[in-house]
Structures are given as C-alpha cells and as structure tokens.
C-alpha cells in the first residue's frame, strides 16, 4: 500500500474503494498526509482573547494547546513536554503564565519557550531543547483560528478560496461582527470513519430516510405558536419538520464545491421563523442593530444570503445562519469524535441566543432526535464497508453534469448531486499523493 499509483486507483470518477474508509493502514497515512498537511480549523479567537488564555484541542491525533502570546499573536504548541513527553497542559481551557510539566517541572512560557529546568546542573546546557514544538503555520480568518502541521503549502486565503464567503456570512450576520463561543460544547463520538460525517452534512438526499422518524413525530406535534405566543418546543418541532422538505426543495437548494474539497449548500428552510426570523419579534430589533452597524444596503445584502451547511475539508462543518460549528477529531479508522460549538452574536438581542441553544440541542445534541439517527447510520456504513465482499462505493448522483462557475466553484447539477463527495475525495487524493 501507499504507492501513489495504488492510491490513485482507489478514487475514481464516480466511485471510491471501500478501503479508503476501512483500511487502518490508509488511516495512518491520512494522519500524516491529510491531517498533517492541510489547514485545520482549531477554534475561534474568543476562546483565547487575553495574553495567556489557552484551550487544548487536537490536530488529527496530535494534542495541541492554542494560546494567546504576550505579543498578542496566537501560538499553537504541541502539548508534549520536550523532556520525557508528558502533556504539559491539562485538557480544557484557562489562563496561564507558564505551562509546567507535571513530571519533572520543566516550565514553558506562553510562546512555548523553555524557561526553567529543575536539577539544571545535571544537563549539558547547550543540549537542552529550546521549548515545546510549535506548529509551523498559524493563521486567522475573520476570527477563526487555523493551523497546519506542515511548514509548506498554500496560504490560508488560497486554501479557503470561495468558501471564505461562508465564514463571511457567519461573521457578517453579527451586528458589528463580534462573535463568541458560548453555551457549552457538545462532544459526541461514533464508531465510523471521519469522512462519513463530512460527506453526510452536505447530503440532501438523506434526511427523508435517515430522519424519517423525527420528521414523522414532529409532523404530529402541536402547531408552533404565532409570533408572541411561542412555545419552548417550537424550534425543535420546526427544525425536525423541515428535514421532511419535499425532494424538489432539496434538488433546488444549490450545492457548490471548491478545489480544496470544501463545499456548501443553500438553505432548505421555507420556515421564516427558523432562519430569516421574519416571524420572530426579536428579529426586528436584531435587524435594526444590524442596519445601525452595517448600513441599510449592506444589512439587506447580508440577510439575503441563504447558506446552510459548509464543509471545510478535512476537519470542520458549520452552519453560518444558526452559528453552529463542528470540528472532527479522527481517533481510528473506525472511530471519530466531534466537538460542537455554538456562537453568540455579542451585539444582537440577548434572547436570540436561546434559539441558537435550542437549535443546538435538537440538531447537534448528544441526545438529539436527529443526530442519533445520523450516528446510527454512520456505524452501519462502517459495518458494511468493513466487508470485503464488495469493493466499491458508488457516487454517481449527478456525475457528469457538474457546472464550473465564474467564481471558481463547481456546482452540482442539482442540490442533491453527490458532487461534494467527489470533490472531497479529489482533495483527499491530492493530499495523499503529494510528495
């Protein structure tokens, strides 16, 4: 395995070999060549605003600390003592002057430089390591923190390409552009390959089947209240019902991909309360604040953007309109962990955040009616693809009918085209084959 010619045989125009999802040797290579090369989304600046603020996360399987240095820049440090290898920072977030290894007390400053070594006389001074390994490339786009474990490669703007528009939508919707991570972090896991989640989030042909049960019970639920007479359950009921949108809606939403494997879909909601918020008494207040901050014309433009899920390949999925962002951490070829963050618009009416939280619970919650069925299906795909009896996964929906757009995106012939899987796997093959 691993010769580039062999890898190239696994990804074909309208099909992919099952080993891409099920072979542990390919997974090991992915950690080196995909997660070890690509820009990865790590989080948001609001998680580390002041010098010394830090949070831990992972880049693929590498434990890292994201920290605000004294000079105001963000550093990403591999969370591994330069001495004997213990993680120097406990999992979580906080503020630290120094990261002190629990094993022998080696301490590092906020930039990861080694500051103090107990029993220093025992070492040859010029042989001591300089500090923690620093992740070579770190960059920020509109408040979102990215890093790459590789010193080489395209810059972040080129990597994002037209997918920058999705981050712009995320940020522009906030009056004054101020967002902050808030409301708790969901962490869920499943026994399946990391790619299954990224592929599912742009798949408009799945909700009618995977989510059939939550659509059915929501349709039988009491009617949501009119503006001013709303119930706690409304957001959940509306969103679950919306997953049962007719096939024609899914076909019409629009599906775009970019050369680096990113993709985004148009919105499938015709429920004005959920997204545009037209029926929401808070919305007028929100719109006034957006107009005050951005001007009438710009506010109108911002609110006309109707995007739903965006995938930033290979580790992130977000919903700009409902301010949800998921980061996937591959654990093994058949095990993945997903952390889900909600964002508050700092200068929007405070109660709007309650809708974000209610939405997070119903769609992204570990006990959700919706997410649990997705996870069940990922595990069933993994079981199926672990069988050697059949080699190929068929990706033919819309194949041969993709449209190249002037802005550099490629659009699916319909909103339910499987173009997004083909684009992700094309990017995968480039990362995997590059020297």
């Amino acid at each position: 395995m691993a010769a580039n010619e062999q890898l190239a045989m696994l990804v074909q125009a309208d099909r992919v070999h099952r080993s891409v999802y099920a072979d542990p040797a390919i997974f090991e290579l992915e950690m080196e060549r995909v997660f070890g090369r690509a820009w990865l989304v790590l989080g948001h600046e609001s998680q580390a605003r002041r010098p010394g603020d830090y949070f831990t996360t992972r880049m693929g399987r590498e434990p890292v600390v994201v920290v605000r240095k004294d000079n105001g820049e963000i550093a990403v440090l591999v969370n591994r003592c330069a001495h004997r290898g213990a993680t120097v920072c406990a999992e979580g977030r906080g503020n630290a002057e120094r990261f002190v290894c629990p094993y022998h007390g080696w301490s590092y400053d906020r930039a990861g430089m080694l500051q103090a070594v107990p029993f220093a006389g025992g070492y040859e001074k010029d042989k001591l390591p300089k500090g923690l390994k620093s992740v070579p490339r770190v960059s920020v786009y509109r408040g979102f923190i990215f890093a790459s474990l590789s010193p080489h490669g395209e810059d972040l703007e080129a990597f994002l390409g037209p997918a920058r528009a999705s981050f712009d939508d995320f940020v522009d919707r906030a009056p004054g552009g101020e967002l902050e991570v808030a409301g708790g972090v969901f962490k869920h896991a499943y026994d399946g390959n990391w790619k299954l989640m990224l592929e599912n989030h742009l798949d408009g042909a799945h909700p009618a089947w995977v989510h059939a049960s939550s659509v059915a019970v929501a349709r039988g639920a009491p009617e949501p209240g009119r503006p001013g007479e709303e119930h706690y359950y409304d957001i959940a009921v509306r969103q679950m019902r919306q997953n049962g949108a007719p096939d024609a809606v899914w076909d019409a939403i629009g599906m775009w991909t970019t050369p680096y494997g990113h993709g985004y879909m148009g919105d499938y909601h015709d429920d004005s309360r959920l997204v545009a918020g037209l029926g929401n008494p808070l919305f007028e207040d929100y719109r006034r604040r957006l107009v005050a901050a951005a001007g009438e014309k710009e506010a109108e433009r911002i609110l006309r953007v109707t995007l739903w899920n965006t995938i930033i390949y290979p580790n992130c999925s977000f919903m700009s309109q409902f301010r949800q962002l998921r980061i996937i951490h591959p654990v093994a070829v058949d095990r993945s962990v997903v952390h889900t963050y909600s964002f508050r618009m700092k200068d929007a009416p405070a109660r709007m955040f309650r809708d974000t939280v209610a939405f997070a619970n119903v769609v992204n919650g570990t006990g959700s009616w919706v997410l649990t069925d997705d996870l069940e299906v990922y595990e069933r795909i993994q079981r199926g693809l672990s069988s050697g009896a059949v080699d190929w996964v068929y990706l033919g929906r819309g194949h041969g009918r993709d449209v190249d757009e002037p802005d550099g995106t490629r659009r699916g012939a319909t909103g339910t085209s499987e173009i997004f899987v083909r684009a992700q796997l094309a990017a995968w093959l480039r990362y995997m084959s590059a020297k």
Binding site: Y232, Y233, G367, E379
Partner: protein, 155 residues
C-alpha cells in the same frame, strides 16, 4: 409521606422503563413537567447553555413516539436496559412538591454493545392520590462533559 413510598415510586418508574412501557412512563410526568440531562456539571441554566436533553412535556412525548417509529434507526429495536436506583433521600418536603435525590446506574444493551452510565438524579414529585407524578427530573451524568456516543435511551 414516608421515604419508603417515594422509593417504591422510583422503583416503579425504573421498572416501567426496563419493561419498555414507555407510554406508561410518560404518563408519570405532569403536563408542565421538564426532563433535563444537563451538559455541564452544576449547570443552572437550560436556556442559554446547551443540554444533552432538555424537554418540556411536548418534546418528551415526541421522544417516546419516536422510540416506537419503525424507522427510528437508533432506537429500533429498543435497547434492553436495567435502571438501578439507589441512595434515595428525600431532601425537601414542601407543601406542594417533594424533592428526592437518588443515584442511577443504567446498563444499556443494543447492537452488540453494552454501555454503563452513572448519574445523580433529582426528582420533584407531586402527590397524586396514592401515588406521585413527576414535575421535574434532572439527570446529571457523571460523564456529561465527556465524549459520548449518541444517547437514544431514556433515563
């Protein structure tokens, strides 16, 4: 009302879940009930911090109905469970409601996987003739902030 009767009621509730009498279990809850599995330890607020589950009575009913739906992929066939209730303490006995704290160990078996949960549980019960109804149930999983596989079982 003696603690023994409160205990019997909690055992009855657990038995309904373990024998898959989900609709009868739902009927234990008052019309204004809340059913809450917080995401964070010591979480005070269910509206501006996410929850693993935070249901009013309407949403709890949808949860029970979903469990019976033939295409509820994560729920059908229903998991086999044992809800082991312990350390029952009546902590507050007011005029209208009784607050009861207990511990729960839940063993779940489904899809060739057995999972074990531990939780601190708080019930607020209202007297209803010879028995009680549940006005509020809060289940604090010991690993609520951990990386959890999807939760489709009822606590």
């Amino acid at each position: 009302m003696s603690a023994m009767n409160v205990e019997q009621f909690l055992y009855h509730e657990a038995r309904l879940l373990d024998t898959q009498q989900l609709e009868a279990w739902l009927e234990l809850f008052t019309e204004d009930a809340t059913y809450w599995i917080p995401l964070e330890r010591n979480q005070q607020d269910p509206l501006e911090t996410s929850s693993i589950i935070h249901d009013d009575r309407t949403l709890l009913e949808l949860r029970v109905k979903q469990a019976r739906h033939p295409r509820a992929h994560a729920r059908q066939p229903l998991a086999r469970t044992v809800h082991q209730v312990g350390n029952v303490m009546v902590s507050e006995e007011g005029t209208g409601e009784i607050t009861v704290n207990s511990t729960l160990q839940l063993v779940e078996f489904r899809n060739e996987k057995q999972r074990l949960y531990g939780a601190l549980v708080e019930h607020r019960l209202r007297r209803a003739g010879e028995t009680f109804r549940i006005a509020h149930k809060r289940v604090d999983l010991v690993n609520s902030e951990g990386e959890l596989d999807g939760i489709a079982v009822l606590f």
